[in-house]
Subunit: 469 residues, 2 copies
């Protein structure tokens, strides 16, 4: 005789979370299923989901609940599985920052190492850039691949860089939109489930999380960042994906550029081993360290130093550059555009640049932000700098808006540098001069020069992982 299943009522589950009683995996799956079907007769009304989200905001979730939430969301729609391709799948995720373009470097390295990287990325929103917008500045590049197209690109090149499809993790779409309207976005538990459900839906053996702290990060407080990182590492590991998190510094833009095509061009130069327009050792270092962890989780090497050596070799040998070109070509991008950019004077002083090599159409306006005093570059409000980049045209105020592929900034100095009054610190590019005014004012408030020298923060801080048992 079949056992009778007691009917679950959403209000009882809200009450449990409200009162810090743990929900079972079945109860959480009921909520997630109900969120996908919200608005239909089988769904849970948005107001009940909203109350539950606010209860989670206040009371959090225990690890078992968080794992169950992540898993239920992960499988709430279609999901990707490339295990039959016979390679290990790894990926990297960053919590977002300004000039953060490591995805374009680590995915080709992972592919060149014989791993798969089915990378599903996001768009620019708020003060941070988005990988999809950067890639779409390459003529012809398509990010809206179906799961079948993803698989073909992966099979051919070892990596793909795509956007979320409508069928992937639909629960996150409902819940994210609801969090946005109900002031529950900032819950680390809900952030963790949102990020990991989407990442794990790609079917990963290993995942490296780049959790940013500092003035340009969403979580500026290092304790909050460490807490989120720990939640994600524990939850990813529970879900059967080897997961590590690196706490990294976002108190200044990463690398020499911020802006869509500018960042692609910077990555092409780095992948080709060419000199950059401005010092970008930070981008190189972080990319290699993230790639090394990806390779280690992908079992290419016995330890981190060996994996790091392999990543360095794949970059220096041009193998990663070959991989990048193959990925761009497989996703419909015109690789001649990449060459074109590199044929130009992409080196030395970028000031006054803006020729055809920098963007597909010429930015007609530029401005230089100069050091307002002599001293040491002590502090940058990197969130304000991110907003300046977006206001130049590189980002969007509302989801769905078009972005300007060539707007952006080039950075000429780093935190801790000694600077002289009048020295160029940043060059700004936009399609017309009026667009430069507000970003320049943002820079005035964002840059702080002090007479005393300061030690810049370490690029890579703590590594958070679950010890093997």
């Amino acid at each position: 005789m079949a056992q009778r299943t007691p009917r679950i009522h959403a209000v009882d589950l809200i009450r449990k979370t409200r009162d810090r009683e743990a929900l079972t995996a079945d109860e959480i799956a009921f909520l997630v299923r109900g969120s996908v079907q919200s608005g239909t007769e089988d769904g849970i009304p948005l107001e009940q989901l909203a109350a539950w989200l606010m209860a989670v905001f206040h009371n959090g979730l225990i690890p078992e609940e968080l794992a169950a939430l992540t898993t239920a969301m992960r499988y709430s729609g279609e999901h990707f599985d490339a295990r039959d391709l016979g390679k290990r799948s790894v990926d990297k995720h960053s919590t977002g920052g300004v000039g953060d373009k490591t995805s374009l470097i680590v995915a080709p390295i992972a592919a060149a190492a014989g791993l798969l990287d089915p990378m599903i990325s996001g768009r620019a929103l708020g003060h941070t850039g988005g990988t999809l917008d950067k890639l779409e500045s390459i003529p012809g590049f398509r990010t809206d691949l179906s799961l079948a197209e993803m698989r073909r690109v992966l099979e051919r090149t070892g990596a793909c860089l795509v956007g979320q499809t409508a069928s992937l993790v639909p629960a996150d779409r409902t819940l994210y939109a609801l969090r946005d309207r109900t002031a529950t976005v900032e819950s680390p538990y809900l952030i963790c489930a949102s990020i990991l459900s989407k990442k794990l839906a790609a079917g990963l053996d290993g995942l490296v999380l780049d959790v940013k702290t500092g003035s340009g990060a969403f979580l500026r407080d290092p304790e909050a960042a460490r807490f989120l990182a720990t939640l994600m590492v524990e939850t990813g590991t529970r879900a059967g994906t080897r997961t590590v998190a690196l706490l990294t510094d976002m108190s200044q833009p990463l690398g020499a550029t911020a802006g869509n095509w500018l960042e692609v061009a910077e990555c092409c130069a780095l992948l080709q081993g060419r000199a950059s327009i401005a010092p970008n050792d930070d981008l190189l270092e972080l990319s290699l360290e993230l790639a090394a962890w990806m390779l280690l989780l992908g079992n290419t090497d016995a330890d981190l130093p060996a994996a790091r050596k392999r990543a360095e070799h794949l970059l220096a040998s041009g193998a990663a550059w070959e991989s990048f070109q193959a990925i761009v070509a497989a996703q419909g991008g015109d690789i001649r555009a990449l060459d074109q950019s590199l044929n130009q004077s992409f080196g030395k002083s970028f000031e006054g640049a803006g020729g055809p090599g920098i963007s597909r159409h010429t930015p007609v306006a530029e401005a230089v932000f100069r050091a307002p005093a002599s001293g040491y570059l002590a502090h940058l409000d990197t969130t304000a700098i991110g907003w300046a980049v977006q206001r130049l045209g590189a980002g969007r105020v509302r989801a769905g808006e078009a972005v300007d592929p060539h707007a952006g900034i080039v950075r000429h100095a780093r935190l801790g540098d000694e600077v002289t009054e009048g020295q160029p610190l940043f060059t700004l590019y936009a399609t017309n001069a009026p667009l430069l005014a507000e970003p320049l004012r943002l820079f005035e408030r964002a840059v702080d020069i002090q007479p005393e020298s300061i030690a810049p923060p370490a690029l890579i801080g703590e590594v958070i992982k679950v010890e093997q048992r």
Copy 2:
């Protein structure tokens, strides 16, 4: 030049409450207006209201916020104002219990004292009875009066006992239904605003709150009851209504009966000064004390002892009984039904009763619950007894269901009484025998007899009021 009003966004208000930042009165009025219009373009979506309610559940409200919420809800629709009748308006509200029928006694006393009591009451839900259901057991009695009809009854009789109209406090209807679905019913702040907005919408000079504690109360914990009482007294006083709260005992049914017509009959006996079917000094004492406070707040007397003396006199003289009959008649009730009940053997042993005097049609089934042992009646689970009464047919499982006017119980013993095995403790009445089975089982679990004598809890505990400044 007109000053620009910054547009208020609901999500920002949710965030403030979430982060324990106080909302302004304007911001709270925005939420309340938005709740009334929810579902329209000018309204606030239910999911945002739900998230706000859950944030209030966790973080509470400061006194200024609670007063603003109560006031905004009070004026969210039509409201009642009888100031032009030239009398002071007073009322009493109870948080609900089993056998709690004091409304039927205190309203006639207040009216007989020359005050107005525009009493807006509720229906049975859960384990507690509802004043409207009790009154509707009188043939012809109408509780669905319009504000204009209310005014006419008040003008003629000094009191009315009616249900909430659709136009009165519409914000509470939206918010209460939402709280019910989102597990935010139990917040003392939201309970306070819900109760007081409805009570104050009747335009009161004075309000006496009967806040129950003990096994049959919604708030069994005395600390929780005291907290709610204090919130309500402070909030009522801020709103300009003299407000006091009495913490009273609900660890046993109040008076001799529970059930709709049984309670009306018990009140008629008490108002006529006739012997009851079982000792009900508790009902008499609490009714007189509540009435005395109503009179005092209505300025009929200089102090509480004088007001108490007046209340006793109005009851003993038959003036309150005259008032009650006038109210029943003015609201369409057949006062001959009241007499009919009283012409019967409503005294001595009620066991075996059930004739035409007890109900308008005869309950055909009854059962006696007898003491399972000799000893002292030490504890009653009065919530379970309330459920037993409802399951006999006196209450409803879902809003809108019909109730049986004659189902109910008569109590033959009080907490602390010495009882002998087999002695009748309760008599149960229903329309048919099968309806008696579950309630009898509930009684088995609800009654606890111990060998040692116990002191019953005091009927009236603390009085909570704001000292005059």
